[in-house]
């Protein structure tokens, strides 16, 4: 009993310290009501895509933002998670929980192996080796003709017992639950002793060694956790899209995740989610806006998108969450960072 009360107290403290994150998460819970009354069911689809990419970006942020490990290959884990659905169904396993289970185990193992080899390097070598692993997996799936090769394979949505994913609202809330759980888990992790040590390693690895700790072990565990989170996002992505192809783990997606994090704010919990919202909304609306103003240039929306991103990164120190913190005069999104309390 008291353990439960204790846990609820911890959740309460964490929510208070991360208000932007939980505002966004609960905003997503209410969004279907809005889209229903505004008669914009298409936007539910956009919201799901935002939640899935946001979740993956939150996972990557654990190593990129908190751990200072610039992994340029995290799309590989999204891809592995997605192929867990396709390949399971290929062998007749249609249970969605099983897909999630496979995804967690496979991405955990892949994260362990890639992490073990890549984390021995640092800086530009680490970036290159993580990219190389992702490219290797990309071309592996391109060459696997049995699983559709280049063209990929269409999949059925996983069967989650009473949660029928062909009901769009149930799919929406399954994805939302995953987002909420990932948010909760990361909220605990980054404030915990482990999370604090990971951030200290980013700050000064040699001082952590001087305290008798071996940084590699912490980095490995962080890497595996982040791989698993990306894998879960990928598994749900496949069910949402009803289709998997190597494209899902194209290197540009790894880059997209990094841009989303930097846009939203490195080493904050709300940042990746906020970054995903702004990134995908711009991606959806810029072509439309541009099409209305100058139809001939609608295809070239990237010309506006790129400079916009660069401006936020250059002038909004700490990304969008940094801007929010400065406007509201708090350090709500960076509460777990150092600073006078």
């Amino acid at each position: 009993m008291s353990a439960i009360r204790d846990f609820i107290g911890l959740v309460g403290d964490g929510v208070k310290a991360n208000q932007t994150l939980w505002l966004l998460v609960f905003g997503f819970a209410l969004f279907p009501i809005f889209s229903y009354f505004a008669d914009l069911p298409f936007w539910n689809d956009v919201a799901m895509r935002i939640m899935l990419l946001g979740m993956a970006a939150m996972g990557l942020n654990l190593v990129l933002g908190y751990g200072g490990m610039v992994s340029f290959g995290h799309a590989a884990f999204i891809g592995i998670g997605a192929y867990c659905v396709g390949i399971s169904q290929f062998y007749g396993i249609s249970n969605g929980w099983a897909h999630l289970g496979f995804s967690i185990v496979t991405c955990g193992l892949a994260g362990l192996v890639i992490g073990y080899l890549a984390l021995r390097t640092s800086g530009i070598y680490f970036i290159m080796i993580t990219l190389a692993f992702a490219q290797m997996l990309f071309f592996l799936f391109v060459s696997l003709e049995a699983y559709g090769g280049d063209d990929g394979m269409s999949v059925d949505r996983g069967e989650f017992g009473f949660i029928d994913l062909y009901d769009p609202l149930r799919l929406y809330f399954l994805i939302w639950c995953a987002l909420a759980l990932v948010s909760l888990a990361l909220m605990f992790i980054v404030r915990s002793r482990f999370g604090v040590t990971l951030r200290a390693i980013k700050s000064n690895e040699s001082r952590i060694e001087a305290m008798g700790l071996s940084p590699l072990r912490f980095k490995m565990v962080g890497y595996v956790i982040s791989a698993v989170i990306c894998g879960i996002a990928g598994t749900l992505f496949a069910s949402w899209q009803e289709y998997v192809s190597p494209d899902i783990m194209h290197w540009t997606r790894s880059g997209e995740l990094m841009i989303i994090i930097i846009l939203g704010g490195l080493a904050t919990l709300a940042g990746p989610l906020l970054g995903a919202i702004v990134f995908l909304l711009l991606e959806e609306s810029l072509p439309m806006l541009l099409g209305a103003v100058a139809p001939a240039y609608a295809e070239n929306w990237m010309i506006i998108f790129g400079p916009l991103l660069i401006m936020v990164v250059l002038f909004g120190r700490g990304g969008l969450t940094g801007i929010i913190d400065r406007l509201s005069g708090t350090r709500g999104n960076a509460d777990h960072k150092a600073g006078p309390r």
């Binding site: 911890l10 992790i189 915990s192 604090v196 001082r207 150092a338």
Partner: protein, 248 residues
């Protein structure tokens, strides 16, 4: 007969053509403050690195309490009882003083693989961190970001972090370098309070501090020991006079 905490046996280390450590053997005894002096580039930091495990000697052995630790990596040596402060301050700059203490405390307890409770709010860790900071009198600066501390305070914090692991051998690489006279004096006072409690290998260019603090002194020139003895023996040694003290 005092017991040797650290014993170096025939260490050699070269960087290409530069022979930075030459056939080096000496002991640091339990509870003594042992100063290592020598001109710039004599190889003092290089030697410390080999004792600490950040550099591997080409030949020779490092023994801690009689156990060969030559192939042990840094974290293992720290757990075996070696603490260190660096020539250039090495603390967690992005955190507050108290947070530095908390991270040191959880590392000391060997309890850093925990995922649920917020570390910086943990009353036990805070109490432990306060004890760590109290040794160098930094508790009134607890909420200060380390990046905002004065240089001397950062050195104090680094000493506190090095002491947090309760080392039997403390390696101090120029702890007073760059500090003002007052800060240097506070640092000497704190080192003085450690006398007899643990072995200290102290590298320092400030000769007044060295002769005041050191029980024994070893003089290093071009990677080799040219003299080793008590403060009196060293200041009266002709070899040291010509090779080092005289030339300053």
């Amino acid at each position: 007969m005092s017991r040797a905490v650290l014993e170096l046996q025939g260490l050699n280390k070269s960087f290409g053509a530069l022979h930075a450590t030459r056939d080096l053997s000496f002991c640091v005894n339990a509870g003594e403050i042992h100063a290592l002096i020598g001109p710039n580039g004599a190889g003092k930091t290089t030697l410390i690195q080999q004792i600490y495990g950040a550099l591997k000697p080409d030949t020779g052995h490092v023994l801690l309490n009689g156990k060969d630790i030559t192939s042990l990596p840094v974290p293992g040596r720290v757990r075996a009882g070696i603490g260190r402060s660096f020539q250039i301050s090495n603390v967690l700059m992005d955190f507050t003083v108290l947070e530095n203490g908390i991270i040191a405390e959880q590392a000391r307890l060997g309890q850093s693989f925990r995922f649920l409770r917020p570390a910086f709010d943990d009353p036990d860790l805070i109490a432990g961190a306060r004890k760590i900071l109290a040794r160098v009198g930094l508790n009134d600066r607890a909420d200060q970001r380390v990046g905002d501390l004065a240089h001397g305070e950062r050195r104090m914090l680094e000493l506190a972090l090095a002491l947090a692991t309760a080392p039997q051998l403390l390696l101090l690489d120029e702890p007073m370098a760059g500090a003002g006279p007052e800060e240097s004096q506070r640092m000497s006072q704190i080192i003085e309070t450690l006398r007899g409690k643990l072995a200290i290998l102290l590298i320092e260019h400030d000769m007044d501090a060295v002769f005041r603090l050191a029980d024994r002194i070893t003089v290093l020139v071009e990677g080799a020991v040219i003299a080793s003895g008590t403060a009196d023996e060293i200041s009266n040694s002709a070899a040291v006079q010509t090779a080092y003290l005289g030339s300053e």
